[in-house]
């Protein structure tokens, strides 16, 4: 077994891994216990203390606020994630392996778009979307797809660029078309890249507040707007807020768990032999 040969004698690694886990868990611990505390127990001085009673009130209240927006979030995030990941994959494939002349100029140009500060283009964005009559959730999906293109293209292109050219040439000799090479050779071995890209796109679309709040109306607001709206403008109940943000992060956590299984090894090895 290949995995076994890697594993032998590596148990000492649990030391640093557990140490790092503590670093990651500390803030989450504070969030979790704060989520269980009644309002008057939320105090800087006692943030490490466990709540005096375990009560799910905050989680129930937060869920009541968030639940109506849950559907909007899914309807928006799933297409936005999948479409922009595929677009990125195709772009990456072409820009890495089928460079038409000028491809090396187009790639940086697409990439550069990632750095655009979204706050500064809200006004033309909303004006443009209104002028083409694309508001509400479809407009929001389109926005996430488009602003996702730079990062998905980058990830896929750099991954495909690291694959040996022989892989493609071998398939070409066997008579595969350009799209055939993509479908039968590259797509199967790019699963780990899809995993990281899907994780990114899902997270950023799920957690986006800015685009959602300006492009959609109050019946279409996704969960982030609902989460934000749980806080008032003056007094903020951090116990409910933290309970709510943990709840709002659960779907993303499930996505991580699910996609995480596909950090597979050895995909390329198999295809090289074939």
């Amino acid at each position: 077994m290949k995995t076994k040969s890697l594993r032998t004698g590596k148990n000492w690694l649990y030391g640093p891994l557990i140490f790092m886990s503590i670093f990651y868990l500390l803030p989450m611990y504070v969030m979790l216990v704060t989520g269980f505390k009644p309002f008057e127990e939320v105090d800087l001085k006692t943030m490490w203390a466990l709540p005096r009673h375990i009560a799910f009130d905050n989680y129930v209240e937060a869920f009541r606020h968030l639940a109506p927006s849950l559907r909007n979030s899914f309807v928006m995030v799933i297409p936005a994630t999948i479409i922009s990941s595929f677009l990125g994959s195709i772009n990456g494939y072409v820009l890495a392996k089928w460079k038409f002349k000028g491809a090396d100029v187009i790639f940086p140009l697409i990439l550069f778009g990632m750095f655009i500060p979204y706050q500064s283009i809200l006004i033309p964005l909303v004006q443009f979307m209104k002028s083409v009559n694309l508001t509400g959730i479809p407009g929001l999906i389109l926005t996430h797809v488009i602003y996702g293109i730079p990062i998905t293209t980058l990830t896929f292109r750099n991954y495909y660029a690291s694959l040996p050219q022989e892989l493609i040439e071998a398939a070409r000799i066997d008579g595969a078309s350009m799209l055939g090479v993509y479908r039968w050779i590259l797509l199967p071995i790019s699963i780990p890249s899809f995993v990281v890209v899907l994780i990114w796109q899902f997270t950023s679309a799920w957690n986006d507040f800015l685009f959602a709040v300006v492009l959609t109306g109050n019946t279409q607001w996704p969960i982030t707007v609902a989460l934000n709206n749980m806080a008032g403008s003056q007094i903020i109940a951090w116990n409910v807020q933290m309970a709510g943000s943990l709840l709002a992060a659960l779907p993303t956590l499930l996505v991580y768990l699910f996609l995480g299984q596909y950090f597979l090894r050895g995909l390329l090895a198999g295809s090289l032999k074939g």
Partner: protein, 295 residues
């Protein structure tokens, strides 16, 4: 070996993306540049020509100078921190240990949580109060007899922004790990085995075999982290409120545009951010593309 048909097809495949990018990115950047050259202040758009005045003003604006310093410190600490932590975690998780899925999900989880809330948690953790009001990490350190670690965190003058970067590392190093892990997993085992047979040590394999293969991944990581650090906004606001000591251009831009209605100045800040990215990234990109060609 490319047929003409494939050449056109390949161009057609990326054409929709190119068009979208042209409108949604360059079109809007164009709008933003135009605004930055105008006298727009207040809610009513005013495209009266102002030339470079907004830019010149920014460079004599003490607040903008603080912003530049903070962004540089934040970017360096954040990018280096994420790469080091993310790469080490990925290498450890790549060994096929039991419980990999648990650790992997745990390290990724912070990214899923709203920045606004994690910012507040970090503000609590990094509370610098002393004596009977000591709390957060400082209290923990004092409890563990690690008093030398007690510090003022993000309220430290000048370097406080580095503490904010630490919170950002907590949030984003998991994703860096995921990127590296995907890269590591795509390296054929045969390569490692061949190096092992040649008598290379584990360290040597990572240094001479694996790191070079991961160069494109590192490039992606650098760019992704770089763009996060230029845009970081909610996290800082949640940790520090809007205070000048921890100000960055993204906050200044937001505040001056939407709180102060200085639209032209906000657009000038946005444009300067983009220009600075171009100055740093574009030559690097060209260099990388060129070196790829020589392979």
């Amino acid at each position: 070996m490319f047929k003409n048909k494939d050449r056109y097809l390949s161009f057609l495949l990326v054409l929709p993306s190119i068009l979208a990018v042209m409108i949604f990115i360059y079109g809007f950047i164009g709008w933003s540049i135009r605004v930055s050259l105008s006298k727009w202040k207040g809610l009513t758009p005013n495209f009266e020509w102002a030339g470079l005045k907004n830019y010149i003003d920014l460079f004599s604006d003490p607040r903008f100078m603080v912003d530049i310093r903070n962004t540089v410190i934040f970017t360096v600490v954040f990018v280096v921190g994420c790469i080091v932590v993310g790469f080490l975690l990925a290498v450890m998780l790549d060994q096929g240990l039991k419980g990999e899925a648990f650790f992997r999900t745990l390290f990724l989880f912070p990214m899923a949580i709203s920045f606004i809330v994690t910012g507040v948690v970090w503000r609590w953790l990094m509370n610098p109060a002393t004596g009977s009001r000591m709390s957060g990490l400082n209290l923990l350190f004092s409890y563990l007899n690690l008093d030398f670690l007690i510090n003022n965190w993000h309220t430290t003058p000048t370097w406080g922004i580095a503490a904010v970067a630490l919170a950002a590392i907590w949030q984003m190093s998991g994703y860096t790990m995921a990127l590296y892990l995907a890269g590591l997993r795509s390296i054929p085992l045969e390569l490692r085995e061949a190096a092992q047979i040649d008598g290379a040590s584990e360290l040597q394999i990572y240094r001479y075999v694996i790191l070079p293969i991961l160069t494109p991944v590192t490039l992606s990581v650098l760019i992704i982290l770089g763009h996060i650090s230029l845009k970081v906004f909610d996290l800082i606001i949640a940790m520090a409120g809007k205070q000048l000591a921890l100000d960055v251009p993204a906050i200044y831009m937001w505040q001056t545009t939407f709180d102060g209605l200085f639209y032209a100045r906000g657009a000038a800040i946005a444009t300067l951010l983009l220009i600075s990215v171009a100055v740093l990234i574009v030559p690097y990109m060209w260099f990388t593309l060129r070196s790829e060609k020589q392979l």
